[in-house]
C-alpha cells in the first residue's frame, strides 16, 4: 500500500506559498483565507477494435486563494505556484470581494472546525497508474478487446481507461494545513454487434473505484470472467424479444442501482441545492429543509448514509477542501429523511454547529462548493443472497449495469436504462429482454422497495465525472448498495417511445 505523497509535490514551496497568500490577504482586510495548491494528473487511453484511438496525459496544477472580506467572498487563481503569485492572487481575491460586496446581501460566515496542523493523508492504493508504462496499459486493454473480437457475435469493440492522481495542499487562516494524495481508476470494455435491424452493445459492469492499476488485474474485479461471458450475453440480447411495456417487479442489481441512488438521493440531499444555490443550473430538490425528519423518502427498509471515509470510495478523503475531517452520518433512516450534505458555509446558513465535510473543488481555478460524499444504501444485515432474491420473484425483470440516465431539476421524475435485462419467471431466469427503460417518481420508487439484499449482495459503484456548479465542476463519487427488489415499476419500451 502506498502511504506517502509524491516527493515532487512535497518539493513545491507549499508552506511558503500558502503562508504568503494568507498573510497578504489578512493584511488587506480578509477575515478568512483559504489556499489550495493542487496538481491533478488525468490519464486516458481509448482503444477501438483493439487499436489505440485516443490517448492523453494531462496535468492541471495551480494555486487558488479564497477570502472573505466584510462578509463577501473573493477568489483568484493562477497556474503559477510561487510566493509572488500567491501575494498577487491574495490581493486580487480581496479586491474581488470588495467589488462583489454591493451585490452580496447575505453575509457569508463559516461554522468552526478543529484545527488540523500539518496533516497528511493518502488513499489506499497499491500501484500508481502513472508508474505503469503506456505499453502495458495498451496491451492490457488490447488483450481484453481481442478476446471479445474473437467471438463471432462481436463485430466491434471499444475500451477505455481513465486514471487520476490528485494532490492537494490546503491551508487556512485558522492554522489548518493538510496535504493529501488520492488515486482512482475507471475502465470500461464494450462489445458491439451489427445486425440487419441495427446495432446492439453491451458493456462490462466493472465500477470506477479508488484503486490504482492493481484494479486491472483479476484480484479486485474478475475481468477474465466478465470478458468471457460478454459475447454470449450480447448474442442473447440481440436475439431477445423487445419488452412489453407495463408494470413489473424489478430486481435492481447494484451495478444499476448505484446510479439511481446518485441521482434521486445523492443530489436531492445536497443542502445547497435544497435551499436554491443551484437553482439556475443543476436544479433544486423536492427534499427541502422543512421536510427534515418528516419526509417519508422510501420504505422502512431504506437506510442511506453519507461518508467521506469508505475504503476505496471515490469521494473518500482525509480532510475536505475547507479543512473539515472526514465523517459518516445518516441521510435516510428507516425510510425518513434525517440528514443532508453540508459545507462550512451552508452549515452556517442553516444554523448547524459543524460541517460534515462535503466541500470540494475540482481544480485550483474553481472555488470549493458542496459536493457529494459517498452516498450508500445500507444492506439488510439479515437480508437474502442474490440467488435467494431471484428465486423469490414470481414474475419480473433483473436490470444490470447503467447506461442512459435522466432526472428532473427537483429530482422527482427519472428515467434510466441499463446494460442487461433478464426476465425472471417462477424464480428462474428465462432469458433476456431488450429496449427496456424504467421511469418513476423518486418517493414512489423508493416507497416500493420491498426486499433489500444482504451484505453478500453489496457492491461499491460510482461515477467518475459528476457535474455541478457554474463554472462547471466535476467530482468522482461512490455509491455502495445491495441488490434490491422494487414492486411494480413502470417499464417503457424505448423503440415504442421513439414512435417506431
Amino acid at each position: 500500500m502506498n502511504k506517502t505523497v509524491d516527493a515532487d509535490f512535497l518539493a513545491l514551496p507549499l508552506t511558503a506559498v500558502s503562508d504568503a497568500a494568507i498573510s497578504t490577504a489578512k493584511s488587506a482586510g480578509a477575515s478568512h483565507v483559504d489556499v489550495r495548491i493542487e496538481r491533478t494528473r488525468n490519464g486516458l487511453l481509448s482503444l477501438r477494435d483493439a487499436r489505440p484511438e485516443t490517448q492523453s496525459d494531462e496535468t492541471n496544477a495551480g494555486l487558488g486563494v479564497r477570502v472573505i472580506v466584510n462578509g463577501a467572498w473573493g477568489f483568484a487563481s493562477s497556474p503559477e505556484i510561487s510566493v509572488d503569485v500567491a501575494k498577487k492572487l491574495a490581493l486580487t481575491a480581496v479586491a474581488m470581494a470588495k467589488t462583489s460586496k454591493p451585490l452580496s446581501t447575505e453575509l457569508v460566515s463559516l461554522v468552526t472546525e478543529p484545527i488540523y496542523a500539518d496533516k497528511t493523508w493518502v488513499s489506499d492504493y497499491e500501484i500508481d497508474p502513472f508508474s505503469v508504462s503506456d505499453s502495458e496499459k495498451k496491451d492490457r486493454l488490447a488483450d481484453l478487446s481481442n478476446r471479445l473480437l474473437k467471438s463471432g457475435s462481436v463485430n466491434h469493440s471499444s475500451a477505455h481507461t481513465m486514471f487520476v492522481k490528485e494532490q492537494k495542499h490546503y491551508a487556512d487562516s485558522y492554522g489548518t494545513s493538510t496535504t493529501q494524495q488520492r488515486v482512482r481508476i475507471q475502465t470500461q470494455i464494450e462489445a458491439i454487434s451489427i445486425g440487419a435491424g441495427g446495432f446492439e452493445s453491451m458493456r462490462t459492469l466493472a465500477q470506477p473505484a479508488g484503486f490504482g492499476w492493481e484494479w486491472m488485474g483479476n484480484k479486485h474485479w474478475n475481468w477474465d470472467a466478465e470478458i468471457e461471458e460478454l459475447p454470449s450475453l450480447l448474442a442473447e440480447k440481440v436475439a431477445a424479444p423487445s419488452v412489453e411495456p407495463g408494470r413489473y417487479d424489478v430486481l435492481m442489481h447494484p451495478s444499476n442501482l448505484w446510479l439511481t441512488i446518485h441521482e434521486s438521493i445523492g443530489h436531492a440531499t445536497e443542502l445547497d441545492r435544497a435551499i436554491g444555490y443551484e437553482a439556475n443550473y443543476a436544479g433544486t430538490s423536492f427534499a427541502t429543509p422543512d421536510k427534515l425528519n418528516t419526509l417519508q423518502y422510501g420504505s422502512k427498509l431504506m437506510n442511506v448514509t453519507g461518508d467521506r471515509s469508505t475504503p476505496h470510495g471515490l469521494s473518500t478523503v482525509g480532510y475536505d477542501d475547507e479543512g473539515v475531517a472526514a465523517q459518516q452520518w445518516d441521510i435516510i433512516k428507516d425510510g425518513v429523511l434525517v440528514g443532508y450534505q453540508l459545507d462550512r458555509r451552508i452549515a452556517a446558513r442553516v444554523n448547524r454547529d459543524r460541517s460534515n465535510g462535503c466541500a470540494f473543488a475540482d481544480s485550483p481555478a474553481h472555488v470549493p462548493i458542496q459536493r457529494m460524499p459517498n452516498v450508500s444504501l445500507q444492506p439488510n444485515p439479515t437480508g437474502p443472497t442474490y440467488e435467494e432474491m431471484v428465486e423469490s420473484m414470481d414474475d419480473g425483470i433483473i436490470i444490470k449495469g447503467d447506461k442512459s440516465w435522466s432526472i428532473d431539476m427537483q429530482r422527482y421524475n427519472f428515467q434510466f436504462t441499463g446494460q442487461q435485462f433478464h426476465r425472471v419467471k417462477n424464480g428462474k431466469i428465462v432469458g433476456q429482454l431488450k429496449d427496456v427503460a424504467y421511469q418513476a417518481t423518486t418517493t414512489d420508487f423508493w416507497g416500493s422497495m420491498k426486499v433489500v439484499g444482504g451484505p453478500s449482495t453489496y457492491v461499491l459503484g460510482g461515477a467518475f465525472n459528476c457535474g455541478k456548479a457554474q463554472p462547471g465542476q466535476i467530482a468522482a463519487v461512490s455509491h455502495g448498495c445491495p441488490a434490491a427488489i422494487f414492486d411494480k415499476v413502470n417499464i417503457l419500451n424505448t423503440v415504442a417511445e421513439a414512435g417506431k
Binding site: S46, R51, P52, E53, T54, Q55, S56, D57, E58, T59, N60, A61, G62, G74, F75, S78, P79, T92, A93, M96, T99, S100, P102, L103, S104, T105, E106, D134, K138, N155, H156, A196, G198, G276, Y277, E278, A279, N280, Y281, G283, A365, H366, S404, S406, D408, M409, Q410, R411, Y412, N413, Q415, A437, Q439, A469, Q470, P471, V495, E497, A498, G499
Partner: protein
C-alpha cells in the same frame, strides 16, 4: 511565465522526433454567480495548458503521442518531449495517420493574449444590483450566472505550423422564481464583451414569463405540436452532431448508418428545405479556418492540424450531406474530408420571424422555455430523453393561454427534422444544458409536430 510563442519555439527546436506539434492555450475568465438575489461565488481565473505531441515514423506509417501540462518552464522541456515520444512509441502506428501539414501561418502569431477580468462587468454588475433590488421589492428571487472568457490558442510545429486563434465569449443566465418558488422562468444571453447585454431586457422578459404562469392548466402526457425556442433547438441538435462522426456511421454504429452498409449521406431527412452548416466565414459567429486539436478522437485528428476548414454543409436542402471526418476516415468511408468546424448554423429557407411570431402560427400546442438533462436512450434512432424546465405554456389559437406542468420527453432530433411545421429567423443562441460547452451556434426557433411528451413531471 514564459510566453506561449517562446515556449513553442524552444520545444519544437529541441524535438528530436520526426515532427512535433505544440499547442498552448492561455485562458482568462471572470465570473459571478448568484442565488436568491445575492452573490454566492465569484472568480478571476487564469489557466494555461501546454500540449506536446510527438510524431514518430514507423514502418508503414507514423505514431503520435501527447502530454499536457500546466505551467511549463524551460527546464521541463526535455522531460515533456521524452514523455510524448514514449507515448507515441507505445501507441504504435496511428489509424488516423495522414501526412502532416507544414509551413502554414494563420493569425497574428506574435500578439499577446488579451486577458479579461472583472472590469468586463463594469456596467453589467451595477445593473444586476439594481435588478436584485427591484426583485426583492417585488418578491421575485433571482438565480444566475455570468462569465466572460478570453482564450487564445497557439499551434506551432517543427514542420513550420504557426497558427493562432482567439475566442472571447461571455454569457448571462437568469432564473427568476416567484410565488414561493411555484413559478420559475429562465433567460440566457450570449455576448462577446457585455457591452450589448441589456439587464432591463432580461428583467422584462422574465417578468412577462412569470406573469404568464398566473394561470395554471394541467395537461396530460401525449404528443403535442411544440414550439422549441432556439436554445432548445441548439441543445438537441448539438447532441445530433456529437453522434455524427463518419466512422461510426460507416461501421453501422450510428443513426446515420444505412441498413445493409454504408452511411445515410444523400438521404433526405427533413420535410423542409433546411440548411445546417459550419462556416468560418459566417460573420456573426467567428471561427477558426484551420483544424487545431491537441488530441485525436473520433471527431478530429492531431495529424490534421493546420488543414483548412471551409464551409461544410451537414444538411443541405434537408438532405444529409456530410458527416464529421478526419482525413483518415474520409479515405475509409470514401467521402469528402469534412472536418468539424467551430460554429454551427441552421436555417430554413423562407423562414422569418421571432418566437412570438411562431406562437401566432400554432393553433393548439406547447411553448417551451428550455430542455434539461438530455441523454441518449437509443443510439439506433438517436432517441433522446429529457425534461422541460422553467416554464411550459399552453398555446391555443395562436396565443399563450396559461402555464402547464413540466414533462419528461422521449424524442429524436433526427426524427424531428422530418416534422418541422414552422421555423423562425436564425439567431445566435445559448443552449441551456450545453451552455458551458457550446457558444457558437445560430439556429431558429422551430415548431415540431407531435413531439413526444412521455410523462408529466412534478418538478418545477
Amino acid at each position: 511565465m514564459i510566453s506561449a510563442q517562446d515556449l513553442i519555439e524552444k520545444i519544437t527546436s529541441a524535438a528530436t522526433c520526426d515532427d512535433c506539434i505544440v499547442v498552448v492555450r492561455d485562458k482568462t475568465q471572470a465570473n459571478l454567480r448568484w442565488a436568491a438575489s445575492t452573490l454566492t461565488t465569484n472568480g478571476v481565473i487564469q489557466e494555461r495548458n501546454v500540449t506536446v505531441i510527438a510524431f514518430v515514423a514507423m514502418d508503414g506509417g507514423m505514431a503520435s503521442g501527447g502530454v499536457t501540462r500546466t505551467d511549463v518552464s524551460l527546464t521541463d522541456i526535455p522531460r515533456l518531449l521524452e514523455e510524448a515520444i514514449a507515448a507515441a512509441k507505445a501507441a504504435g502506428i496511428a489509424d488516423d495517420y495522414a501526412p502532416l501539414a507544414t509551413n502554414v501561418s494563420i493569425g497574428d502569431w506574435a500578439a499577446d493574449h488579451v486577458p479579461t477580468g472583472p472590469e468586463v462587468f463594469s456596467q453589467f454588475a451595477p445593473a444586476l444590483g439594481d435588478m436584485f433590488s427591484r426583485s426583492v421589492s417585488d418578491s421575485i428571487e433571482l438565480f444566475g450566472y455570468s462569465e466572460h472568457t478570453s482564450e487564445t490558442t497557439w499551434i506551432g510545429s517543427k514542420g513550420g505550423l504557426r497558427l493562432r486563434k482567439d475566442s472571447p465569449v461571455g454569457r448571462v443566465e437568469m432564473t427568476a422564481k416567484s410565488h414561493g418558488r411555484s413559478r420559475s422562468t429562465w433567460s440566457g444571453v450570449e455576448t462577446r464583451d457585455f457591452s450589448d447585454v441589456s439587464v432591463a431586457d432580461i428583467d422584462a422578459h422574465v417578468r412577462q414569463r412569470l406573469d404568464w404562469q398566473g394561470n395554471k392548466i394541467e395537461l396530460p402526457a401525449g404528443r403535442y405540436d411544440t414550439i422549441l425556442p432556439s436554445g432548445s433547438v441548439a441543445d438537441i441538435f448539438t447532441y445530433m452532431m456529437w453522434v455524427s462522426n463518419a466512422r461510426d456511421a460507416h461501421e453501422g454504429q450510428s443513426v446515420f448508418s444505412k441498413k445493409g452498409g454504408g452511411t445515410r449521406v444523400g438521404e433526405k431527412l427533413s420535410n423542409v428545405s433546411l440548411q445546417f452548416f459550419s462556416d468560418p466565414e459566417f460573420k456573426l459567429l467567428p471561427a477558426a479556418n484551420f483544424v487545431g486539436t491537441a488530441v485525436s478522437s473520433p471527431f478530429s485528428s492531431v495529424f490534421d492540424n493546420g488543414q483548412a476548414i471551409k464551409r461544410v454543409d451537414w444538411l443541405k436542402d434537408g438532405v444529409l450531406q456530410s458527416l464529421i471526418q478526419t482525413r483518415a476516415t474520409a479515405k475509409l468511408t470514401n467521402l469528402d474530408f469534412t472536418p468539424i468546424g467551430e460554429n454551427l448554423i441552421m436555417s430554413v429557407d423562407g423562414a422569418s420571424g421571432s418566437l412570438e411570431d411562431l406562437v401566432k402560427k400554432v393553433d393548439n400546442g406547447l411553448l417551451l422555455t428550455t430542455f434539461w438533462y438530455i441523454r441518449m436512450v437509443d443510439p439506433n434512432s438517436l432517441l433522446l430523453t429529457g425534461l422541460t424546465r422553467d416554464g411550459v405554456y399552453h398555446v391555443k389559437g395562436g396565443e399563450v393561454v396559461g402555464a402547464t406542468n413540466n414533462f419528461r420527453w422521449n424524442d429524436s432530433p433526427v426524427s424531428a427534422l422530418g416534422r418541422i411545421a414552422h421555423a423562425g429567423s436564425t439567431q445566435w443562441t445559448q443552449p441551456r444544458e450545453w451552455a458551458g460547452d457550446i457558444t457558437n451556434m445560430a439556429v431558429p426557433p422551430l415548431v415540431i409536430k407531435d413531439f413526444n411528451m412521455s410523462t408529466v413531471s412534478p418538478g418545477n
